[in-house]
């Protein structure tokens, strides 16, 4: 498995674990406090802001740890720079990001459907979150696909 594929797999796994962990914490461990608030817009605003912060900070820390782990593991082999990206990496990143952005835009449009049908506001946020999660996961899946199958 190449280093780029390893990075994509690592990103995919951490996204799933962080998102799953955060949802379990909010609706599982603190469910008694949070579940009665799901109809409030303020709750969803805080939910998304906290999730964004958690994702950004955790991913930075986890990638630092990943880099340290790879450096220690490959100390006897030739040095492979984790931050170095060439034209093929950029092209793969652009292609996978383009498709994942389409999913995110589709999610935003889809989130308008429950609102227009008169459903509570929580359904809009749930739709946005689901599509946001799927777009993030698919971005890594497409990266893995392009790295293994070629552009």
């Amino acid at each position: 498995m190449t280093i780029q594929v390893q990075k994509a797999v690592f990103n995919l796994v951490t996204t799933i674990l962080l998102m799953g962990g955060y949802i379990y914490y909010i609706f599982g461990i603190q469910g008694d406090i949070n579940l009665p608030k799901v109809n409030e817009i303020q709750f969803w605003g805080k939910f998304i802001l906290k999730l964004t912060l958690l994702m950004v900070i955790s991913k930075i820390i986890l990638f630092i740890l990943f880099t340290i782990f790879k450096k220690i593991k490959n100390r006897n082999k030739y040095d492979e720079d984790l931050s170095f990206i060439d034209e093929r990496d950029k092209l793969i990143e652009m292609k996978s990001d383009r498709y994942s952005h389409w999913i995110a835009i589709l999610g935003f449009i889809a989130s308008m459907v429950p609102i227009s049908m008169g459903y509570p506001v929580q359904y809009m946020f749930i739709t946005i979150l689901i599509f946001g999660f799927v777009s993030s996961v698919m971005s890594d899946v497409w990266k893995i696909y392009y790295y293994s199958k070629g552009l």
Binding site: Q4, Y78, D86, E87, R88, D89, G150, L151
Partner: protein, 78 residues
């Protein structure tokens, strides 16, 4: 997604250049080893700039490194 219509002789050229490794060539032309491997296996067509860098490194012309077979190209004129 192998590009059959664009073939290359990089593997042969590397062999005649003191059996240099993919990593050595990658360092010379400023890409990753995986990109050199992808070009060699036909999974990736390099940019014109990279193609020229590769041919310059081996001191050969571009068509001695890359060959194009129009009969295998799926391109259709509009």
């Amino acid at each position: 997604m192998s590009k059959d219509h664009i073939q290359n002789n990089i593997r042969t050229l590397r062999f005649f250049k003191e059996e240099m490794t993919q990593k050595q060539l990658a360092d010379e032309v400023g890409v990753t080893r995986q990109t050199v491997a992808a070009i060699e296996s036909g999974k990736y067509s390099p940019s014109l700039e990279l193609a020229f860098r590769i041919s310059n490194f081996f001191k050969v012309t571009l068509d001695e490194v890359f060959t194009y077979d129009s009969s295998k190209d799926k391109f259709k004129k509009k």
